[in-house]
Symmetry: C2
Subunit: 371 residues, 2 copies
């Protein structure tokens, strides 16, 4: 049986690159921030094999930006994350959990600092725009909050540096991780950051005029043929191997950043005011009750769940859920992210997963899938 | 060529009824409020023909609820809409544009008043939850704002009253339009409202325990076979004929309620504080520059645009865009919603639409598609 089709409308917004994605064979989509996001070209396995060896161009315009600009911009961005944004230089991006006053995860964006008081919040799939607008209104802050006409295009894979040096010049090799520069591609002004939703290296290119999307794609594509470029998209196998979370799957509003393993991205008690201060202090003191883990599941390749699979402990008690799953040839096992009760979360714990193909033995792994 | 497929994950949330929708042949989906929403069963034309003659059961769990409860609940709901919510009785629903301090449309929900200070905002496709949470935090209001476990199931079509009288009892016939009652179906407590996203009559049933979705569906289905029940979904042809707008297509944050024709749902100057007061007073005084219209497009049935088609005036100048389109056999023409410059918006104005099948003559129609 073929999977259900997707129905597009103006509501599921078109990207500036979508025509090229379809021409290159994008055959499955998801919706992300009310916008089309390609999800499969050939098969997830073929897309993966090419990504880890060559270079791909990804239509990730669905990573929308929330621009915060004005005299109170820094104060507002500080308010919504426990991460110390005063330490983020102009030209730098930081991964920053957005956390509400109850300690709940609202999103896990990159924040780009464009100027002292001008930021782009490059968001995962929730309407951060509306949340930040609501806070700014409620606090009467002197700031503008809006979605600019900015559409990221990603270049990912081990040949990314060679390709982009060819497209822009050798200076792109000197752009450090999570730093960005303003430059041009075929005369089109762009911001180029060393970042992206894979562990294979590469760049995200922030186009600032959606009317120029096809020209930007074509300029890179023309140089890319020498590097065996293909169109691609964020790949489930690769993101599990690399350990990249997806807001809405691995975490939601009722999860706190500690249980998602995001505590390492901030230190509690920064100087600036932040709305999650009391809630996070309390959670840190009380300790977490559940935790996101890397869970390797034994046996043949599994079909990923529509939503979740239950996780059982050795006594067959439900202790959690699997939130994402894919088979990895590299690790020769099924990889999954799961959220489980804290006393089942230690590395090496033997668990079980109730899959659509029967109950399977599973083992908690460490970061990088280490035993 | 078949349409692209949809990729589901935990992020594109599963509904309590989805298994039945798939079993009944839902073959295309969209994503709405981060949740699957079925979009086609047989064909849009066949689905339509059945809907206007019989009765259908619709999985509309994607119409999520934002619950606002607590001492400041009424004040908060008043703040976010120009509609006078103090006039909404307990047991009543009102259609209320949510409008920000700049006069922009955030959503166009039904608001259900469950108690003096307890509301469900039954939302279209934007994260109203985050916006209302942000405002409540910023204003330090004494209120809880959250998404409850509530999943609407719609019964729509001319045989809806007969079916639901059979399921619940004859008292459902006395439920007035946009009023709701608390009742039970097969022992499952539900709220039943006379409402729904079609003009064919019917009910929306608010299930409050997602674990009971299949039992609720099955209980109604068993009685429905006598009425030729089918599974269905909001139908594009029907909503164009009936004049129902879709947030994200017909209106967005940069549209004000007057240009969307929503001014008739409120009177400026209600007693309670509302955040859009100044912006809407200003827009009302200055007048609108563009307007949403009913636009009939001549010729053979058109394929709907991926996103929009341009609208031209008699001098070939671009004056607006088509935002939704379907061919109606009932009106024997292509129906579309369009947003055009105010001097091209009068009923009877002759315009042109640049479609994927050539440029077509078009005429502005009145409400109900009257000439």
């Amino acid at each position: 049986m073929s999977n259900p089709q997707i129905v597009f409308s103006r509501r599921s917004r078109q990207t500036p690159y979508e025509q090229r994605a379809l021409e290159q064979g994008a055959k499955a989509f998801t919706i992300y921030n009310h916008m089309a996001l390609s999800a499969v070209y050939r098969t997830p396995e073929e897309d993966y094999a090419h990504l880890v060896e060559h270079v791909q161009i990804w239509d990730v315009a669905a990573e929308r930006q929330v621009e915060v600009v004005g005299p109170d911009a820094l104060a507002l961005v500080e308010l919504i994350t426990p991460r110390d944004i005063s330490q983020c230089a102009i030209g730098q991006c930081v991964y920053a959990p957005l956390v509400d006053e109850r300690g709940g995860m609202v999103n896990d964006p990159l924040i780009l600092r464009l100027a002292e008081n001008r930021f782009w919040i490059s968001i995962a799939d929730s309407d951060v725009l509306l949340w930040v607008m609501g806070i700014a209104y409620g606090r009467q802050m002197d700031v503008k909050v809006f979605e600019p006409d900015v559409s990221p295009l990603a270049i990912q894979g081990p040949k990314s540096d060679d390709l982009m040096a060819d497209v822009i010049g050798p200076e792109v090799r000197n752009v450090r991780f999570f730093r960005f520069i303003e430059t041009q591609i075929a005369g089109i002004p762009v911001i180029l950051a060393r970042s992206g939703w894979s562990g294979q290296g590469g760049f995200e290119i922030y186009l600032q005029d959606s009317g120029l999307g096809l020209a930007l794609w074509d300029a890179i594509w023309a140089k890319g043929e020498a590097y065996n470029i293909r169109a691609g998209c964020p790949n489930l196998i690769e993101r599990l191997e690399t350990g990249l979370l997806s807001y809405g799957s691995e975490m939601r509003l009722n999860n706190n950043p500690f249980e998602c393993g995001l505590g390492r991205f901030f230190t509690l008690g920064k100087k600036a005011e932040y709305m999650s201060r009391e809630a996070l202090d309390r959670i840190a003191k009380e300790g977490i009750k559940q935790k996101m883990i890397n869970l390797a599941i034994d046996g043949d390749p599994l079909v990923a769940p529509r939503s979740t699979f239950d996780v059982l402990d050795h006594a067959d008690k439900v202790v959690g859920i699997v939130t994402s799953l894919a088979y990895s040839r590299k690790f020769a096992t099924n990889l999954s992210f799961a959220t489980v009760a804290i006393d089942s979360a230690a590395k090496g714990t033997k668990l079980q997963v109730v899959t659509s193909q029967g109950t399977r033995a599973a083992t908690v792994r460490g970061s990088g899938w280490k035993d």
